[in-house]
């Protein structure tokens, strides 16, 4: 039985449709990623799952309990980390942890094994006010506080926001480590590169789920030959390549531009063709290489189709 089951969920704020007919399931012990840009409806979905908002339509089930009628029971099983830093800035690290443990009726000693890998990293700063912590440490503390009562389900709304890349990497390693306790995790992020760290992901845009699969399943479904291209004039390069015959799409991707070709075009001599095309247009320092599609490429593809 899935731990989280969402069926045909809709929610609107006045004329704004935040969620539209959303359905998905999350299995026990899974890290399920909700990937989408700001304003896609991720936070609304989290608040509904945390039983803080009522949906207009549809149903949710958590651990076999009805999310609307049995919300009080569900709250006992939830660990919820809202998008904003939601700890008390004027309390110390230790006081925050103690407070949340007491409020949830848990004991730090009893559940220490669960948080130990994370808490030991911030323990040297346990007498520091939470407001004076770095972004990465705040996030680790928030995770400890959300875990201290051994929740069955962990809802993490954009835990990577405002955190440096190294801390973010560590954070994901901690989540992966938590899987062995059978904790089911729902994580949202606008960063496509974090998607690959999830077991399964849902790509969400304008309140709709565009695709649900494993990260490799999503990238494997990408049908187009893909190249990364770079030259001395990236601005005109993108504009010109979009006009080139056989090119489906071209968009900026880091320092490179990704060139997506029609699926029918054989990738054999394409590199040379593109090179020739760019040289004719007066580009220098041209660099072309075939590249594997990422989640972001798939997202852009789905968004435009």
């Amino acid at each position: 039985m899935p731990v989280i089951e969402v069926q045909q969920l809709s929610k609107s704020y006045g004329p704004l449709q935040a969620l539209e007919n959303l359905s998905f399931q999350v299995e026990k012990g899974e890290i399920f990623g909700l990937i989408g840009p700001d304003g896609a409806g991720k936070t609304t979905l989290f608040r509904i799952l945390a039983t803080l908002l009522l949906p207009d339509q549809g149903s949710i089930q958590l651990c076999g309990l009805d999310g609307i009628k049995e919300y009080k029971k569900i709250r006992q099983m939830l660990g919820y980390m809202p998008g904003r830093f939601s700890l008390y800035q004027d309390l110390t690290v230790e006081e925050n942890l103690e407070f949340f443990a007491s409020v949830f009726g848990a004991s730090i000693q009893k559940n220490y094994d669960l948080i130990a890998p994370i808490y030991t990293q911030i323990e040297p700063f346990k007498d520091r006010r939470a407001g004076a912590l770095s972004g990465g440490m705040k996030q680790k503390l928030a995770l400890c506080c959300a875990l201290i009562h051994r929740p069955k389900v962990l809802l993490l709304d954009e835990p990577g926001t405002g955190v440096d890349p190294v801390s973010r990497q560590e954070f994901w390693e901690m989540l992966a480590d938590l899987r062995r306790y059978g904790i089911t995790m729902l994580v949202s992020t606008p960063n496509m590169d974090e998607a690959e760290l999830c077991d399964r992901i849902a790509l969400i845009q304008h309140g709709n789920i565009m695709a649900i699969d494993t990260p490799s399943g999503i990238t494997n479904s990408f049908q187009h030959p893909l190249f990364a291209v770079r030259s001395d004039n990236m601005y005109t390069l993108i504009k010109e390549l979009r006009e080139m015959e056989g090119v489906k799409d071209c968009y900026a991707f880091g320092e490179y531009a990704h060139v997506k070709l029609e699926p029918s075009i054989a990738p054999t001599d394409t590199t040379a063709k593109i090179f020739q095309f760019l040289e004719n247009n007066g580009h220098t320092q041209i660099d072309i290489k075939p590249t594997a599609p990422t989640i972001e490429d798939c997202f852009i593809e789905l968004m435009k189709s």
Partner: protein, 368 residues
């Protein structure tokens, strides 16, 4: 540690670590008591008075009528004895009393004297009333002289002024209780409404709501620390009043404390009520300041006598807790009155507390 006590401990930490909160909590009461030293005089209309007139001579009746028809006074009671006079003052029914001698006549052969007794627990009002009465009596003598064709200096009525409860007419007797009502209202209502709004604003309310804490635990957990600190505050203000300004404390300390706790409870429940409506700290502050502070200062009778307000403002004033608490605290401290007199005000405050608490518990949502 239980859920609730952990919550209360957390609240204490918030308060004690925030310098601004502490300043408002402990700095403001003292500063205000020291600042409100002005004597604000205001015109008073229809003040309740009593007359003790054993002689009931033609002249005493004429003078009484003249006083009452001036518009400043309203005859509340015709007294028969000195004891009755004491009782009326203690119950706060009258603001001034006029005592005629048993042989009152206005005659050139013998100057007569009248006693004017003011309730100086409200010194502004008492002074104004005595002044009005003196002017009217002088006018009365003048007319009498003209009627009988005598020179005005041939007739005299001497007035003898006495002040009850506050013979030196210290304004502190008025503003120390007034500041107490204001401060207790401010700290209790404003601070609680802000502290709940702050949790909403910072996003911590989301986590609290998801936690097994019950709404009533959140509400009481928020109010308990303020109840304790405000009681301490009340004590500071009373001590400043007694030791710096020489206020008396004639009534029971126990009763005073109990009434303070009751009043604070009203204020706290009002604060929670505001917070259930306010989404952020600014809104909470705005509603508390505009909706509570100003009416408490202006309409409760703390600065301006309620007697001289237009009726609609008097009606609004009677919906303000401070209006009922002001006479309680003055009665206990200055006159030494007990529950036998103050039961009505106490009952009104009790009703208000229950009302606001019930409404806010109903309004407190355990969802966003």
């Amino acid at each position: 540690m239980t859920r609730f006590s952990a919550f209360v401990q957390k609240e204490f930490r918030h308060i004690l670590r925030d310098r601004r909160t502490l300043m408002i909590l402990f700095g403001m009461p003292v500063i205000q008591v020291l600042l409100f030293g002005y004597v604000l005089t205001n015109e008073i209309k229809n003040a309740s008075i009593a007359v003790l007139d054993p002689a009931k001579t033609e002249e005493s009746i004429a003078l009484t009528n003249k006083l009452v028809s001036s518009g400043y006074f309203q005859l509340e009671q015709n007294l028969v004895s000195q004891e009755e006079l004491d009782r009326s003052f203690r119950s706060g029914k009258i603001k001034m009393a006029i005592v005629f001698p048993s042989d009152f006549i206005v005659d050139p052969s013998k100057p007569s004297s009248i006693q004017l007794i003011g309730d100086a627990s409200d010194p502004n009002t008492a002074t104004s009333l005595i002044q009005y009465a003196n002017a009217i009596i002088a006018d009365f003598v003048q007319e009498k002289a003209q009627d009988t064709g005598m020179a005005s200096n041939q007739l005299t009525i001497r007035t003898e002024t006495r002040m009850r409860y506050n013979p030196e007419q210290k304004a502190v007797f008025n503003f120390v209780p007034g500041v107490m009502t204001l401060i207790l209202m401010l700290v209790s209502a404003m601070m609680t409404s802000i502290t709940i709004a702050r949790e909403k604003e910072l996003g911590t309310m989301e986590v609290l709501l998801v936690s097994p804490l019950k709404p009533v635990q959140i509400i009481l957990g928020k109010t308990a620390p303020y109840l304790a600190l405000t009681l301490l505050n009340a004590l500071v203000v009373v001590l400043v009043g007694i030791y710096i300004f020489g206020m008396p404390l004639k009534g029971s300390i126990l009763l005073l404390t109990a009434e303070c706790v009751l009043y604070m409870f009203v204020a706290l429940s009002l604060g929670i009520f505001i917070s259930t409506k306010a989404k952020d700290q600014m809104t909470a502050m705005f509603i508390s300041a505009l909706g509570l502070m100003m009416p408490t200062m202006l309409l409760s009778g703390f600065i301006f006598p309620r007697e001289s307000m237009p009726v609609p403002l008097q009606v609004i004033g009677s919906a303000i807790p401070a209006t009922w608490f002001n006479p309680i605290i003055k009665g206990i401290m200055i006159k030494g009155t007990g529950l036998d007199v103050l039961w009505k005000q106490t009952a009104v405050l009790g009703g208000m507390a229950i009302f606001f608490l019930a409404v806010s518990l109903r309004n407190f949502k355990d969802r966003l």
